[in-house]
Symmetry: C2
Subunit: 327 residues, 2 copies
């Protein structure tokens, strides 16, 4: 297995080395291919990612990714979005599950759901028309795109409680009538129990009754909003990992961004990055190792060795060391 | 003053009569014009709203509105959206403030912010293209639309803490670069302090640190999602009122929908409708009466005379009676 390691910018440079340290402690036959992308590269070379980088990424099986700062350039196209699209990683999987001993803003810890976010179309089409007095963005919902994300979600549901919630806004967006229809068809044909919710009602319901949900499937931007929102349920954006999965490639990244405001201080929580690496191990088939990593993370929390966002006073690398040692 | 009274469907038929009972108790020189719109009318006449209805609405100064159930017809166009557009009520004002004695899912009660949602464009353009295998919706952001909503938000901010947060997704949507730019210009020229947030980060931040915000301005669909989500902060969708304001007309409605699942049971919470009526009184200049209504609502909660969503056992009309009597 060849894994591209992209630290990126800001706290990406702090949390990814820690995740790699934990990975190294497992001593698996994995080849690491470090790659510089993002704001730093843009400052040096005028581009944040180039053709050659994409070739290197494609020569790997998957990517472990930190976070990237957006350069203040109106023509700039997001590195993250470029990679998701170029490697056609259409399923963005974001598990929302409390870690033992930690509680989020609502004090609840009896929930465990996964947001399956379509990752290649919707509002992220990049089809835009900009005039001086008006600007348009085209939201694209295709049958093919809806079908494959619905299949990913159903596959996951079957490994879990077999329950799917389809989130949409079809009372306003006719494009979501297609998404909803296709998801229903796929769920019915796969034998998965399903229901649906309007995105506004779902935002309220997820915050109020998170324990009601198992697998949630939705379009790109709704998934973006609902997953950040749900991070409040588990207590910190610094805890939520994600996987971007395609038919050929996969890409693992914390849900948080590069957080320039806290970068360089050694206080970034590395758990989201470590749990993203854990999702990578699962994807590779290293189930036993994934369990090891998860229990090491739980150990660090039990011992109160946490970063300031969780009320602790440990540094990013302290937390990493504890987890790597325990592994 | 002429006020159109539209109960609509579902619990709209239960909460609006109660809000009107409270209004009547104030004995103000207000002419009420009842109007049937929505699913009920659609079943009888095949249309949910017609030209004649719009004429009647336009002959009034404002509207007190319940909620409408969407008929299961793909060609159906939302009554609510039709009215918002036809009467050009471009500012949707949604105050998020805990009621004394009630707490929401996060247990916090030290916040008080207002979401100012653009109400006529964005994803609600109704410009769609539907094919069998792909569907498009056009998101429209105009300078004029952004400017007038920014002005509404700044006007409100000046009556409050003079702080504006502009919510957008300009790292992905170039159409939001226009929105963000215009809002910044207007805030600067009006002397309002401003900052901005990406919508995903804002969803997390509002749930985690609601006390940090004063006036939040955003585009149509983001405002829709963030306001329903924020209802979880105050404890129930049954508590959040809203006003739709244009240069000529205004329209007051609870944020909740017609809730067919609980309709007819007499358990719907009338407070959102009563507080919407209170926003109407403020708009009309009846400041003193608005304060009376608010304290009557607070009285009902202090006396534990609440509907089941708040843990009480009173019926919709019981709660209404207490509040009307107290007024
Ligand atoms: C950085 C940004 C382009 C990205 C997105 O909007 O998808 C991020 O918010 C995410 O959720 O991965
Ligand atoms: C009923 C629906 C069309 C409406 C909207 O999306 O605006 C509602 O959710 C609201 O927030 O007023």
């Amino acid at each position: 297995m060849r894994v591209a390691i992209v630290e990126g910018d800001g706290i990406g440079k702090e949390v990814i080395p820690v995740a790699v340290e934990v990975l190294d402690a497992l001593d698996l036959p994995i080849e690491k291919v470090p790659l510089e992308l993002g704001y730093g590269k843009w400052e040096k070379c005028g581009v944040a990612i180039d053709e050659n980088d994409l070739e290197i990424l494609k020569s790997c099986d998957c990517v472990l990714f930190g976070a990237i700062t957006t350069p203040p350039d109106p023509n700039y196209k997001s590195v993250l979005l470029t990679i998701r699209k170029e490697l056609d990683m259409y399923a963005n999987i974001r598990p929302i599950k409390p870690l033992p001993g930690l509680i989020g803003v609502t004090g609840k810890n009896d929930f465990d759901f996964v947001i399956v976010r379509e990752n290649t179309e919707g509002m992220y089409s990049s089809i835009e028309e900009i005039h001086d007095d008006v600007a348009y963005t085209k939201r694209v919902v295709s049958r093919k795109g809806s079908e494959r994300i619905a299949r990913s979600a159903c596959k996951l549901a079957k490994e879990r409680k077999n329950e799917l919630t389809i989130v949409h806004k079809s009372n306003v967006l006719k494009s979501d009538t297609l998404f909803l229809g296709v998801c229903r068809e796929v769920a019915a044909s796969e034998g998965v129990e399903y229901g649906d919710m309007l995105v506004d009602a779902m935002a309220y319901s997820l915050m109020s009754y998170p324990e009601m949900y198992d697998v949630v499937v939705t379009t790109n931007l709704f998934g973006d909003i609902l997953s950040d929102m749900s991070a409040a349920l588990v207590g910190s954006l610094g805890l939520v990992p994600s996987a971007n999965i395609g038919d050929k490639y996969a890409f693992f990244e914390p849900v948080h961004g590069s957080a320039p405001d806290i970068a360089g201080k050694g206080i970034a929580n590395p758990i989201a990055a470590i749990l993203s690496m854990k999702m990578m191990l699962e994807w590779m088939g290293y189930e036993r190792e994934a369990v090891l990593v998860e229990s090491a993370v739980e150990f660090s929390i039990r011992e109160n060795l946490t970063t300031p966002d969780l009320g602790g006073s440990s540094s990013t690398s302290d937390v990493g060391k504890v987890i790597a040692d325990h592994v």
